[in-house]
Subunit: 445 residues, 2 copies
Amino acid sequence: MESGPSGGSRPAEPGPRLRGLRGADAAASASSLSRFGAEAGCRAPAVAAVLPAGGSGERMGVPTPKQFCPILERPLISYTLQALERVSWIKDIIVAVTGENMETMKGIIQRYQHKRISLVEAGVTRHRSIFNGLKALAEDQPNCRLSKPEVVIIHDAVRPFVEEDVLLNVVTAAQEHGASGAIRPLVSTVISPSADSCLDHSLERARYRASEMPQAFLFDVIYEAYQQCSDYDLEFGTECLHLALKYSHIKAKLVEGSPDLWKVTYKRDLYAAESIIKERISQQVCVVMDTKEDEERVGCCLEEMLKTELNHIKVTSGQDLQQIILEQCYNFVCVNVMTSDFEETQRLLNMLEESNLSILYPVVVISVHFLDYESVPFGQKMEKVMQIREFAKEAKKGNILLFGLLIYFPQEEQKLRESLRQGATIIAALIKERNSGLIGQLLVA
Amino acid sequence: MESGPSGGSRPAEPGPRLRGLRGADAAASASSLSRFGAEAGCRAPAVAAVLPAGGSGERMGVPTPKQFCPILERPLISYTLQALERVSWIKDIIVAVTGENMETMKGIIQRYQHKRISLVEAGVTRHRSIFNGLKALAEDQPNCRLSKPEVVIIHDAVRPFVEEDVLLNVVTAAQEHGASGAIRPLVSTVISPSADSCLDHSLERARYRASEMPQAFLFDVIYEAYQQCSDYDLEFGTECLHLALKYSHIKAKLVEGSPDLWKVTYKRDLYAAESIIKERISQQVCVVMDTKEDEERVGCCLEEMLKTELNHIKVTSGQDLQQIILEQCYNFVCVNVMTSDFEETQRLLNMLEESNLSILYPVVVISVHFLDYESVPFGQKMEKVMQIREFAKEAKKGNILLFGLLIYFPQEEQKLRESLRQGATIIAALIKERNSGLIGQLLVA
């Protein structure tokens, strides 16, 4: 197979865990701001971002514009906003949407609690939408509420996996060179067809790159370019770097981006995005147990089995649960070794509902119970299924997916380990799939 | 957003259902052969295909070469072979694999019963692998077992969704023009960097296309080109169309391909491929019921509910089951209204195992039972869970995923409809996810 140019061999997903906007991220983002000084020999600039989101998504083959297509029930554009918002040094995010989608967009901002967002009306083309976004930032406009940034990032609403490092790289390069953009190796050879649809010539793949997003510009450079550019450019052009070159005579600095920058274009890309997001939020699992002595054996063994199925397992007896929730763990296993009620599970559900953790992603909670045939008949224990179904219906309203798991608890050590191994397989399956069609079910291991 | 050049607005997936190699396909494929005469004014040529599969998949970020990465537990290359094999007019398929993967490849051919495949040793580059494949077809080689085709298709092992129509189009065009290749609109603007990684110029996107696969050539045209071409071409080139132009002076005819032709390059593409395959094999569901009068009401109502969740529902009382299996339906719901045993389900499992249907895809079977509180206590009914777990373990060995579903059967019409609606949601969730971690579970609606 082809070996791409440099940068092509970088590992793809999974990248760093998709992060939310709260808690640990703010601190990390603030510290990276100081890199401006160290790396580029210049002070931190005022930065804003413009996000054209007026497209109709015709290549998708679905009626909803792609930026509004749901992934785990949340619109794609909300993930992109989240990726920009978690970067504390981006002061304003201007989103250009069409009039008909303005109310939808306001609803998204409210529901997912996005901050620092301003909306402007999209133009009929991508360039016109970007121009409208820039105008909202320019101080020469009447009723301007925003302050003019030194550097402006332009990004796509349909590239949700942009990381802070590439944003920092393009901003730093733009500050120095006036313009900058992320590039990637070409996946296919590019050819030029003749008028009769025959091959005229093919380009040498190694000499070209795909121009991706984000791009960044000194605000005056790109705003001046847009003010000067022709109607033809605004109608048929696709590339901001080209406008900066043509009208402001700035040769943009090109920055190698990661494969994460890919653009959600086709329906298959939505599938890929959903799988990536599911994988990222399934990395970390918190096992909540009480501390009674006779439960420790079971707890440790279950933890050991889970480690063969999932990456990061944290076990807690509940004291540091608040902190774990703050650190954005989206999966909880609530173990009740001998008790047969849902008290522990209910306590966890209450904490989760108060925390707002499930605003951005569905949270999985698995209520684990044990079945000792000698003390309680199977049928009697199983009747609990009805109870967990009611809990699950309530929890679903708050975007929490609740499942029950009954683990057979034989006295014999070897059989117990086998039960726990099966339990771990079921837990991993439920967490990885996040299937809301199966909430309220009581599974048996 | 950008509006692509012509062809860009075609709907993407879901395309036609992914088909197997047996049964109905052979007839459809044979009839399309006659299109050669009607469309191109020429007779059907002898066609072979060469599949270079020697790559290391370094861009994937995973140790397994991408063509061997599993999708629903089956290696990606097997899906591509299946797509070529189902086209009856492709006489031979030559796969070039490295020495170290030769045994793996033989195992794949045997396990998934691929036909018309010959293996050759891959070269160190893509072009050398293709050349080795062509040599195996050339009659000037010693010990040649294969006959020289008039037209040869070159395809990638990592483009599993190629459809017969595009294969036919490139073969027909190659017969007329000497060479032909599928193209797609560019997704990103292509730029040329200067030596210091700054923008030199950007290409006008509408004037260029991405060169994709499949391509097809008159055998003599491409074989001659490979025989003449330089070591530099064999080492660093990527494009067969370019070789045909440079050495055989043939300007390839370019054919617009569908978005399905995309190449599995990154890990996200594997996720996308898995979702597409899952979606395609989940389209059709067969509901098996016996014909007793009192069951009809329930059966019809369940069918109605399923139709809101899934596309194609076929209901049978069992007589035409053999035919439905032959037509490659991969999902079965086995309904037992009043009986509480697994007799019907076991009969279906036996038929499936005899049919070999599950060789290519995991088949989902959901054994549905009804619970009338008044006649049987809940706990007693639930104890069946143990029984289905044993069946499921056995079935899994034959790539059949068996689940149980207990539907509450109240006398009141409205409540019954609600039970069935919940049952349909669970059935759809199980079929769409195909989660082998949950086999043997008895779910409750």
